[in-house]
Symmetry: C2
Subunit: 223 residues, 2 copies
């Protein structure tokens, strides 16, 4: 064990460790998708830009953990299996799926950061501000997806199902983590953290926001 700051709650360490591993992995997976699936070099660069932004978030989180006297690797370790499993289950098969994954992933991550900030004090609050200033990086994905659906409306249903499956897998992994790590859950929903129903309501809010974003970009499962 490294020597961590006195009074540092394990919920804070969990939250920072989970977000750090999520950002590190998002960075690497987006880079992979950019390399394998982008149809043009400009597209590859644009998705690379989203990837590099995630790396910047990872760096902020890792440095915060280090400054709190926590080994980032130890903090990330409990979340490796769940996050890796999510990516294994949501490997995009083509460029449009990669774009939707980037948009859905960064969108839900943004909502999640906002939820985390609601119940947090320093050191989480300022960090959330830092991270959220980068929002909008994935806007290019929205434009491309919207244009693709206009050109071929049948894409809408398939990509909406894809987005729905990604969110479903995320909720499934999230529920498992929340059950296994009550102090993390408490960080996210306040004092009712032991109450899994409260976590369920948090996930419901995230899912509603996700649904609004999907509708805005023209992705509806009824289409």
């Amino acid at each position: 064990m490294t020597e961590s700051s006195p009074g540092l709650s394990s919920g804070v360490v969990d939250l920072l460790g989970m977000l750090a591993y999520a950002e590190l992995t998002a960075f690497l997976k987006l880079a992979e998708d950019a390399a394998l699936l982008a149809p043009t070099l400009n597209d590859r660069a644009a998705l690379g830009d989203v990837a590099a932004t995630e790396y910047g978030h990872f760096r902020v989180l890792r440095d915060k953990l280090s400054s709190l006297g926590v080994d980032p690797e130890e903090a990330m370790d409990p979340f490796v299996d769940a996050i890796d499993a999510w990516h294994a289950q949501t490997r995009p098969k083509d460029w449009h799926e990669a774009l939707v994954k980037a948009y859905v992933g960064t969108g839900i991550a943004g909502d999640f950061y906002r939820e985390a900030a609601r119940h947090s004090e320093e050191p989480i609050r300022r960090l959330v501000d830092d991270v959220l200033t980068d929002e909008g990086r994935s806007e290019f994905a929205v434009e491309r997806v919207r244009a693709a659906i206009e050109a071929d409306p049948r894409l809408s249903g398939r990509l909406a199902l894809w987005a729905r499956r990604m969110v479903g897998e995320a909720l499934s992994q999230g529920q498992r983590l929340a059950a296994a790590r009550p102090e993390l859950a408490a960080m996210l929903v306040g004092e009712e953290g032991e109450d899994l129903a409260e976590i369920g309501r948090l996930f419901a809010r995230l899912t509603e926001e996700h649904g609004r974003r999907m509708a805005a970009v023209g992705l509806t499962t009824s289409g």
Copy 2:
């Protein structure tokens, strides 16, 4: 064709386009190596850091091309085959090979930027300064390789051959490009650009510098 600045030489566009595609691809390949080969999360993050730095260089180069009125995609396009071929021939099989590739790649790239600056005026000169301020990012790779060789001296010969092969493949692709694109060659060696022997001397200087770096880290083929 996009409308480029009057008087902009095709050699400058070639140089910026080649470097841009090299950096974009280095970013994506380093991210892939970090994801697939790093033995620990901290190692993954450290190589991710090198990858993200390469993305930063790509962004500088792309923005410079755009500001000159050149479509980055058009400028990069002539270099895709050579750079992709190099990566296909130098896919690391393990973490140590990945580290040596990162060190060799960023080292040669640094020397190359310095060579390019010798014969260039704006817009290349300031850009080279921007890029070279990031040197040292791959120092972590040196430390890990040195420690690995101390722990197992037999590694030295194998990794030295690996480095040698990477450089050989780079020179081979470089010679081909220089022959095919005389204006790019002229950018690199000055007025004697049509003279392939002068390009040969440039490559010899790069190879000497590479040899010095290899010796410094304990990688010698006679080991």
